[in-house]
Symmetry: C2
DNA sequence: CCGGATCCGTTTCGATACTG
DNA sequence: CAGTATCGAAACGGATCCGG
């Protein structure tokens, strides 16, 4: 019994494997969205985001995202006990992916936003991405659009 | 004790919620990739894909994706016992998302493909997406590129 | 054979309480 | 505030079984 389930024919050089170890769960992309689009930076902000992630899961995801080089963590200069999380370059590179996810959701899931806003972003993908990059480069932590925020942008 | 965890301030009209009920797991997007890019159509093909999903999980994901209107299932006309799964319009709309995921992985994850191929796709996002749509419209089930396939495209 | 369903041990998740 | 600890619930996944 117990035949060897053909261990060959793996690694068959198919170049479309996609890496979902880090992103293939319910929470990681939400944290990234909060960082990228809402301007969130701290544990508390993520925790109080709409979807109510549990604290242990949040801690785990933050660690995982950091291990994977998608975010970085540094102590707040003005308040040592507070951590500030930021997207790395690799994390910022997720902007196109996130934008497409937003567009898809707005188009196909009726639980989503009205879509007028998204429609405009869809017309101007390049511009939106460029704006995300510009803001991160200048450490501009205001949310991408006023209505994107549901807390103030942590101006100290 | 047991304070009410402030049930207000939900539904705060933040238009950037993203829907990961269906896609936020390790397998759903892989199945969609197999459909979209590899030309897979049957349970067996998905099962034998590189990542080795368990049959019960695969059955569950196929059902979920169908419930969510992302794929459809119909009996094969030439072989009644075989099911053919296809992307719906909603599923095809995931092409841009999937493309961005591929590009991101190729760029940032060293476990990924050489990337030359992906680089070309990156130069021509619109073209790639249009090609995906064309093929699905014409029920052309050959994989997007020869090297994308690791089994033959199920010609019977 | 094909597309699953069922069983069952293991892993992960997630709500809550707790801590430095 | 920023996380740990705990523990029950859910999901996973390997193996096997089954109807057509």
């Amino acid at each position: 019994m117990l035949r060897k389930v053909k261990p060959s024919r793996r690694r068959s050089g198919c170049p479309v494997s996609i890496s979902l170890e880090t992103l293939g769960d319910r929470w990681s992309l939400l944290v990234i969205r909060d960082l990228m689009v809402r301007g969130y930076r701290t544990f508390k902000q993520f925790e109080q985001s709409d979807e109510r992630i549990a604290t242990n899961i949040l801690a785990d995801r933050l660690r995982r995202l950091e291990r994977n080089g998608i975010i970085s963590a540094e102590a707040d200069p003005t308040d040592g006990r507070r951590m500030n999380y930021r997207l790395t370059e690799k994390g910022i590179d997720l902007a196109p992916l996130l934008l497409e996810l937003l567009i898809w959701g707005a188009r196909n899931e009726e639980t989503m936003a009205p879509g007028e806003l998204i429609g405009k972003m869809e017309q101007n993908r390049e511009g939106v991405i460029a704006e995300v990059r510009r803001r991160w480069r200048e450490r501009d932590s205001t949310p991408m659009l006023p209505s994107f925020a549901n807390t103030r942008p942590a101006r100290n």
